[in-house]
Amino acid sequence: MHATTTHLGQPTSERTPRNFRWRVVDIVVASVIGVASGVIFWAWGLAWSPLSAILAFTPGLEGLLAGGWLFAGVLGGLIIRKPGAALYTEVVAAVVSMLIGTQWGFSTLIWGIVEGLGAEIVLALFLYANWRLGVALLAGAGAGVAVGLLDTTFTSYAALDFGYKAVYFVSAVVSGTVLAGLLSWLTVRGLARTGALGRFASGREGSRAPSAALS
């Protein structure tokens, strides 16, 4: 019944035991990020109409705005680092933006699931072990591919000519890489420095300064 004993005073090398089961803190923080992102998604959705009108001089360029709805999954995946994190966070964000009220109604949920899968699949390909910048960018690109395919097939963009569909697809992927991939990665780094991620592996890498979480 006793816990395993370790020697005190030995240098602490982070042998992170890779546990893929979600703890309660994983679920709650992923939900918080999801809900916060959902509010941002909703606001982005409001801004989308005027912004896309501006970009509409070349139809298809509105794809550049798509990344604004993709960052939740990548952000959640990078912070929680467990299977399903990207999918869960993106879906929660989509549901929340839907609850508040968007013009896309229920399709928001379906889009959220597919977008989340786009990022999730990339992270899975790296076996949930690699969390560097390149992987973050690829995950963002993955989500961009997902939304690009969805939009050019099922929404009003399906009614465009093929050339414009291609423009949309490419700009969606670029947007995903930058807005969802790069921005999320930078955010996680910033968060880790504030000590807010003390209970996550993403917050402990390279941390040397003792922070005052629990005394």
Partner: protein, 509 residues
Amino acid sequence: MPPSSSFTPARDPQIRAVQIRARNWGWRHAGRHNQAVSGLDLQIEPGERVLLLGASGAGKSTLVHALAGVLGDAEDGDETGSLLVDGRRAAEARGRVGLVLQDPDSQVVLARVGDDVAFGCENLAVPRAEIWPRVRRALAEVGLNLPLDHPTGGLSGGQKQRLALAGVLAMQPGLLLLDEPTANLDPGGVIDVRDAVVRSLDHSEATLVVIEHRVEVWQDVVDRVIVLDPAGGVLADGATREILSSQGERLAQAGVWVPALPPRFPTRHPISHRQALLSAEALAVGRVPFGRRTASVVAEGITLDVCAGTATVVTGPNGAGKSTLALTLAGLLAPAGGTLRASDSFAAGIKPAPHRWRSKQLLTRIGTVFQDPEHQFLAASVRDDLLIGPRALGLSVAEQNIRVDELMHRLRLDHLADANPFTLSGGEKRRMSVATVLATRPRLLVLDEPTFGQDSRTWQELVTFLAELLDEGTALVAVTHDAQFVSALADEEYRLGTPDPIRLPAGAL
């Protein structure tokens, strides 16, 4: 659902108090170099009431979290030795132990009062027929006579803490753990929570372990005091009176509020010529709610003058509008009625209404220290954050550095220059938020609850420092519940919430 009735249940035979045994127990958080707790040997008998004290870093919170079984597994840290709750490891004894934490907002799980209290019972698989009677009993015990579908969002801090306590009591635990439950509450809330705990313990006779640096609140409730040593193990352990007298000095040094050793008030050397800076005439204050146009007024008819070198203290009950008044005087909120004018020397060439001043114009005139220091953090290191004000003023780089270095030295922040502000301790955050505001040398300082939740050492430093500022000619407006702060510093007191706000020169209380 009908409102919970208030009846006092008899001693509950179902609750068995818990015994705690620690043998050479230690814990190291993952990612940290040092052990949080090491070599701990102690035994707490069922039904005992213990106050846990110690300097910060002694591991009190870690111990309490471990007893609740929420420290985590191998992913979160390494455990050594054994810590047994009723003969079993803490993580396996869920439901036998209840934990109430410090932050009222971070413990509310669900949106309705009844649902939140029922949450614990649901997790313990209590049959539905038994859940709601338990919920009503728990709410009655803590004195929250609210209907079960009352929204949890609108509750005060004291009410939220009592709600958290009710949620814990509904689980009928044999061990009640309280981690600084009253630190973030006003004096009224503190008493409410303490009384609620006492009432519930009289019924359940459960074991109690409470961490609090305000000893006065709990000294008559507990019979044993354990002081933890930051270097490991137990420093002192014994009856309340004994420990407080033998360890009193040491504890006070560590920041504990020992009743027999109150903090010393600084001596003031008030300046002679007190120039008027701001004057309010029949001022009405209020905030504009989200999505509306007009402000909802919370206080009106306020007439007061703020003069250089004087400390004006704003007091009053919760909800009377103290914070709103402070923010209005600071030029951050527009007045909802009446006038607020800056004197000519204070305005120095710009419009007399502070809320119309541009951000940069506020910097050298009014500095505001918010109740939550974290809301003021702008940069990724303490030094960079302090530089923001002087830089916005357009000072030369050399001058910026001189000011910032001087402030960091004066407020003992030198060793934290490169640390991220969010990683600082409570007292350090408070000192830093004061430093950031002083970097631009404002003539008026507005503080919202500056001593909230502070230990005695930080309190002492802050009050002494503010006295120095006053003697140098800075004006001070402080919103506070803290009666000691008022006695130490106030030249004038403005009490809100009474039909005609009273203006008392301090000393007339």
